[in-house]
Symmetry: C2
Amino acid sequence: MSSRDSQPDWLAEVNFSRTGLIPAIAQDADTDRVLMVACMSREALIESARTGRAVYWSRSRERLWTKGEESGHTQRIREVRLDCDGDVIILKVEQAGGIACHTGRESCFFRVLKDGRWQTTDPVIKDPAEIYGHE
Amino acid sequence: MSSRDSQPDWLAEVNFSRTGLIPAIAQDADTDRVLMVACMSREALIESARTGRAVYWSRSRERLWTKGEESGHTQRIREVRLDCDGDVIILKVEQAGGIACHTGRESCFFRVLKDGRWQTTDPVIKDPAEIYGHE
C-alpha cells in the first residue's frame, strides 16, 4: 500500500478515464469466452482485487455493484489483467450459475452478424423473471 | 441497406456513444484470447463488416485506421458479435503474424496482477523497432 492515500501501489499503473472509470472485460476463466463488459471505478477495482469477487461501478445506479448481488450470479476472480495502455482491465472469472447476462444467457454477446442481421446464437438458460424474482 | 442514408440496416441496433464511437474487443478466432481493445466509428464498423478486415477509429490520429496498415499485422474477421445493450462489439479475428500489440506481443493484455504488482507474462515476439521500421 502506498502511505499517502492507502491505495495499493499497483493502482498507479491503471489509467482511469476523466470520469474515473475503466472498462472491464469479464472472461470465463476456463473457456476464455467473453461474458460481459462493465465499468469499474477505483474503488470497484480495489474491492475486486481485495475480495476476489467482481465488483463494478453501476453508472445507472451510481453506486458500487457486486456482480450477482441480485441474481446470485457472482463472479469469482481467478486473474486480473491490464493492457499495454493501462486503460482496459480483464477479469478471468468463474461465473456462478454459468449465467453472466441479465437476459439469462451465459454471455451478453449472444448476437452474431450474419446475412445482414444480428442473429441470436445462445439460448436463455434461465428466465430473467425467475432470476430477479419479479412478482 | 436502408434507403435513407445507405447505411446497413443492422447498424440501427448498434448503440454508439455520444462521441459516435463503440469499443471493439478483438479476440483470436481460434483460442478466444483477447488480443486488444480499440474504438470504432460507424464508418469503421461498416468498413470492417464490408471488407472482412478490422478497421478502427484512431482517436489520437482522428482518422480511420486499418489494423496492420503500418505493422502488417492485419486482422481478418471471422465473426462480429454485439452485446445485449448493443454498446460493445466483439471481432473474432485471425491475427496476421500472431502479434496484435504495438509492443510486439501477441496480446495487449500481457500483464497480470500478482503479489501486489503487474507482472509481464508474455514475451516480445518481434522488436517494435523492426515492426515499424524505425530508422
